[in-house]
């Protein structure tokens, strides 16, 4: 993870010419695909199977108390949080580009925007903050669901929903910590083009977590039923 950790390995011969860490992160992402595939499949298998509400897309009346529980999922709010997370991927791309191009002279007539594009600190901050923003949305979502009567023990929907989105949230949290440590290195000694691989690894992970969210948002939130 840290740029310096395996730097001494850099001069070793590799078959593909790529750094070992680049191969390993792809293997890891392949494994993570199966992890989320299992979680998402379980959610879909249990869709509509809960014996008691609240339900994701339809209101439910408790037969014993007559209390009405509204449909749980708040699609406008989650659309906003999805937008925030997707924007973090954009910031991540710009952060990587800034590290790769550090030290290169700006083209003549470059404006403030071009200057901003070269600041890895700015874009790493943006990625972290947008990631943290997504987590804040999730914290709000979880608390409001619990207030509305949906806990992880309540029904199959609650168990599979909180476990799946909780796993995703934990991945985002790990990503924010990872990016935060890159930011710390950037403040300490400045991330150089030679550190691009370290940023690239974090970026691959970050984009993967985003792509998983696109699948979750589509399958859980957008498809009613």
């Amino acid at each position: 993870m840290s740029a310096s950790a395996d730097a001494a390995h850099g001069h070793h011969y590799t078959t593909t010419g790529l750094d070992n860490r680049k191969i390993a992160i792809w293997a890891f992402i392949g494994s993570e695909c199966m992890l989320f595939a299992s979680l998402i499949s379980t959610y879909l298998i249990y869709k509509g199977k809960s014996l008691v509400g609240p339900f994701p897309h339809t209101p439910w009346t408790d037969p014993s108390s007559g209390k009405v529980f509204p449909a749980i999922l708040n699609i406008p709010v989650t659309s906003a949080s999805t937008f925030v997370l997707l924007m973090s991927s954009l910031a991540m791309v710009l952060a990587l580009s800034a590290v790769e191009n550090r030290g290169k002279p700006l083209p003549p007539g470059a404006g403030a925007w071009d200057k901003a594009l070269t600041s890895s600190k700015l874009w790493l901050w943006m990625t972290c903050l947008l990631g943290a923003g997504f987590l804040a949305f999730q914290a709000y979502e979880f608390t409001s669901f619990v207030h509305e009567g949906l806990t992880i023990r309540r029904n199959l929907f609650g168990s599979s929903f909180f476990t799946l989105t909780g796993f995703h949230g934990a991945h985002v949290t790990a990503g924010v910590i990872w990016l935060g440590s890159l930011l710390a290195i950037d403040y300490k000694r400045g991330l150089q083009p030679s550190d691009a691989l370290a940023v690239d690894l974090a970026a691959l992970y970050w984009h993967f977590v985003d792509v998983v969210w696109i699948a979750i948002f589509t399958l859980l939130y957008l498809i009613p039923g």
């Binding site: 993870m1 840290s2 310096s4 950790a5 395996d6 730097a7 001494a8 390995h9 001069h11 070793h12 011969y13 590799t14 078959t15 593909t16 010419g17 790529l18 070992n20 191969i23 390993a24 293997a27 890891f28 392949g30 494994s31 993570e32 199966m34 992890l35 595939a37 299992s38 979680l39 379980t42 298998i45 249990y46 199977k49 809960s50 014996l51 992880i152 023990r153 309540r154 029904n155 199959l156 609650g158 168990s159 599979s160 476990t163």
Partner: protein
Amino acid sequence: MATVAASPTYTASATPQRSRLMSWLTTTDHKVIGTLYLHTSLFFFVLGGLEALLIRWQLMRPNSVVLTADQYNQLFTMHGTTMVFLAIMPLSAAFFNYLIPLQIGARDVAFPRLNAFSYWIFLLGGVFITLPIFFWVAPDGGWFGYAPLSGRTYSPGPNMDFWVLGLQILGISSLAASFNFATTIINMRAPGMNLMRMPMFTWMSFVTQFLIILSFPVITIALVFLQFDRFFGTTFYQISAGADPLLWQHLFWIFGHPEVYILILPAFGLVSEVLPTNSRKPLFGYPVMAYSGILIGFLGFGVWAHHMFAVGMGPIADTVFGLTTMLIAIPTGVKIFNWIFTMWGGSIRFTAAMKFAIALIAMFVIGGISGITHASPPSDLQQTDTYYIVAHFHYVLFGGAILGIFAGIYHYFPKMYGRTMNETLGTWHFWLNFIAMNLTFFPMHFAGMLGMPRRIYTYDAGQGWELFNMMSTMGAFLLAPATLIFIYNFFRSKKHGEPCGPNPWDAPTLEWSIPSPPPEYNFAKIPMVTSRYPLWDLTHPERTAEIPHTQTGWTEATQQTGEHDMAPMHIETETRTAKELGIPMPSSTIKPFFVALGIVLMFSGLLFLPKGMKVPAFALMFGGTAMWVGYLYAWLTTPLEDHH
């Protein structure tokens, strides 16, 4: 680095002397880690064998009272769990560690510290899941842990807590190791060693890593659900909440069937090294051997529901899974025939390793054919949950994986310790083991066909099962002395075995071109290879005359590094240390051990939750987390190699 035996061929490294325990705890050398895996998993193999002996003792006669039903449940659960996760998988891992870098011409694995971590978390996880059997609180829900039976309602005690958490810990080990070995094989091959020149063991290991990468996350999630159900009251496997009673079975077997190939493919790889070497002929149909391994791995993901024919999935699912299962027989049969054709016309040398390798072919065919009989759903309905199935999977796992691993141990022991194992004792071990395993497992076919169910702790007389059970038990008690001979031979040969040169079997691949045991850096000059059998190119060019020879990849390699570190294929005679040669080696470190320990402590905390003991629970969870996060941070911010 700690060399494990006095080397007859090269001087030991001059690194500062530490105590032997500290040198193990801090090693990052793939060869030392490989021998640690080997010894640990042999220990667990013996333990799992003792559990089997108790099981067979109880089943020797009808209505026996050697064990209670509860003790029997714990023993058969732990026998399966131990043999699968603590014996066969790590025995394969011992060979992955020791052989992959040597076979591809690398100086270590891609991530040496991650490798040490994989071993330590395997050892600690193994201890975690094994300790409770000594207090009769061991897991008792079968190695497959079927939910909802393994949920809190039906398994209220701590028994299955140990199983759920133990398997989570062991899964971390397997996954970390699989990323490491996949990267090593993709990225650290010597110049000229393209994929179709890799030794067959490395090929089968390569396929195995992908199986682990893709199947272990599925059981991780199945276990997370079970863990959440047991500790936090979720409803994943709660039938009363509308849960699907087959969810666990599907998730478990999507992992569990690839797991079967994770167990067998490395053994297939080992005999694919032993057979050509001892037939003094190249492996017959090398490309087809590689492709059939890939195909077995690929199809292995599409057959899981053949473990579930009896649950009533309907005719379409039954047909599809029956057909895919039969399809797997094709690439497996290809392998069997290619091994036979490898021996055909060869000048065969019957070493102990060779005997085990040939026995694998015969025994695996028996297991394979009985497997075909329950690939067909109507036939399977007669056989499922009977001793016929027990016979089948012991023929493929004992007759396949274990025999292959024994072949590998006899064959590679000289490389690891610079001495050969005693061949006479090896022959005794072979014949005793061969007779005993057939005496143990063959009668189980008949007991099963006569309707004897699996997993019962006793049975009534007069059902025609007495003779077969008595035979099986006699066989099991004969396996014990066979194994003792092996263990005695193994430890005696380390000190007193016949000293051997670098290549006692006159083998064709890179690991035999360096001294035995290899120096810490493996290769003083990375060999540049031109064919699939680089060492035979030097020693027996007539055997490799028909194989294409090219210098593919040499130019790229020399451009990347300069040529000073590499040399065309040669036999290594270097006896200097890494330091003297200026070869950078990963420094030893204790950090991976403490990261592993922290993770295990964190999981242990959960054990106290169901008893309401919140203080030890949270102390262990937070303490463990702090430990592994802290040491992981220290690990990631320390360079792999000392500055020089």
